[in-house]
Symmetry: C2
Subunit: 401 residues, 2 copies
Amino acid sequence: MDGMPFQAELMQASPANAENQVTLANWRIAPFNRWAFSHVSEIVPSAIIAHDPARVTPLPANHVNLGGVGYRTASGQNGTVNNMLADTFTDGFLVMRQGRILTEHYAAALAANRPHIVFSVSKSITGSLAGLLVENGQLDPDAPVIQYLPEAKNSAYGDATVRHVLDMTVAIDFTEDYLDPDGDFLRYRKASGWNPVDNPATAGDLRSFLSSIRRGTGGHGHTFHYVSPNSDMLGWLIERAAGRKLADILSEGIWQPIGAEMPAYVTVDRLGAARTAGGINATLRDLGRFGEMMRNHGTTGGKTVLPRKWVDDILKNGDATAWARGDMATFIPGGKYRSKWYIVDQAREAFCAVGIHGQWIYIDRKAEMVAVKVSSQPLPVDEAMDKHILAAFRAIAAELA
Amino acid sequence: MDGMPFQAELMQASPANAENQVTLANWRIAPFNRWAFSHVSEIVPSAIIAHDPARVTPLPANHVNLGGVGYRTASGQNGTVNNMLADTFTDGFLVMRQGRILTEHYAAALAANRPHIVFSVSKSITGSLAGLLVENGQLDPDAPVIQYLPEAKNSAYGDATVRHVLDMTVAIDFTEDYLDPDGDFLRYRKASGWNPVDNPATAGDLRSFLSSIRRGTGGHGHTFHYVSPNSDMLGWLIERAAGRKLADILSEGIWQPIGAEMPAYVTVDRLGAARTAGGINATLRDLGRFGEMMRNHGTTGGKTVLPRKWVDDILKNGDATAWARGDMATFIPGGKYRSKWYIVDQAREAFCAVGIHGQWIYIDRKAEMVAVKVSSQPLPVDEAMDKHILAAFRAIAAELA
């Protein structure tokens, strides 16, 4: 699993030759993804999630070399943090302890002032944001989805609750196959504006696609079943409940209060629907600030950003049985999933956000640690790499604790 | 010329109904443009022109009410600054004197942390940036275009120099008709990604379009002939000369050194070509910082950003005869055009950048003033509004001097 060297010529000439031209047709494919994941707004239209330049939270640094920290994977392989970073197409890596930066590293096409796509880490950001609307009474997790979105009546969401959407326990007929050349997932991506379409005039849109997904067998709430559209549905619920655009709600609710230093972005479809399941882009440091807020039970600098009750619920109230029945049980044995976060280790209060191609926010409260990794792994899902990365995070936490 | 009230429902529902849905097909049309001009990256893919969050130039404020300042247009109409602002679809208005903010005002869909498209003000930003490359020997204004871009050999640019491109004196067969439903301008916009295309697979791209424009009659350098593609050509020349992407050159060359507080953006076509003729978006304050740097002969806080020689050349060396022969002589009688800037009044060292639908940076060195106005006027060109705005700027300068 050696990382390939970064093809530095990608998109540098004007025009680039075919080997170096990144387009809507190849942006998630290696080696083009190495440039694209740091330049998504150039490929897919994106809404700005503004920060407040007058309210930037300082991130003091106290550099420590963690590269030599060793680990052993569950399947018995050995490695060091440095090996892991080199082998997993790392674009950015940040480790913070007690809010101080211990390690900050950029590679390939990334830099400190450049946002990187975080794919399904977007889900966890959106799941956190939902807590704000719950707190102020705009969104009831136990209410049926159709209380907010009657147009979802004939879809899989027709008899599901917001909580089912939050926890990925909707019984839904959808196959999350990232590499399928013409199934559900491709139709979904075309509707999202993530893939080329033959005829833009008749191309679908994200919200219509969500309303068209059919119900699966079995009952909602029974089994953890990971399908990305659930998380776009959550973004749509938030927009409808607030009567405003997702990017603005996220800017005012989280990005400004955590003291982000740069705007974040979220890709939008041709009607302006935010791809909250995977389309958020942010800088490494701002992802660190977000993780640090989650580590501190929803606070930044002692001030409440998100309701503590909502943040603490994530660790307390996941359904271990639904997880064990689900399609990712071997990824985190004994884990749980709550409000779009993975609970890795209840005792350590360790939880994480994970996105395809190697995006991570890993929080360990016992070690007072937040780690962020953004990557451009060639495959969407690479279990071998995941195991090395998770083992490295655990080893760093053990080292710091 | 009363301004219509802002349609606040634009894009707020999810989905918006037809009356409030902004798309690639309607974004420059009123009333949709009122929302779109503050949200362009959601419509057209855009490259980020990063600022440096660690290097933000403070903008102290010293508020003065300028709304009552009265003026008389050249054709004898009277008005006040407040009337002018209300009647010209103003989204943002900033007046600075000696680097201090006197007036800062937002309306419609704009806010301090939101970039607004500046249309042809983009040309002036690009023309200023060119000076950096000239200074370090990467770009020679007197060299033929094809020294850098041999692929332009059979186009109008085949025997033109970089200076002809900078000063809009290329003899070119192109009609700048913003409202023509199927002429040169529509083909140009489709190639830029600014308008829907029937078939994305066979759609053109901006650079190929530029290389396809035919030569006009007469000699280069003779007549001021305003055609936007010249300014995309300048962006392309800059990219080729530097061997890097325009957004990165502009970020490092201007946006970071002036101490911008937010990123700017530039729309890109499907191959990543920056639309430097009209696709730059920036916040009002950052446009103020840019204008202030130009007022101060290329410096910010006493530090050189752009070569003084290049900035001073703009006021000194424009060709009044070429201007008088050209198609905009009545817009600024006795004016000149140099390196993409309009010289309004040589004695006062008053010069400006202007974009369609009401975008302005107006600099008057005698009054130590920079004014910025961003707008969403319904028509691309509205001479009556232009006259009121210019007269108001002159009156403010007279008031401050």
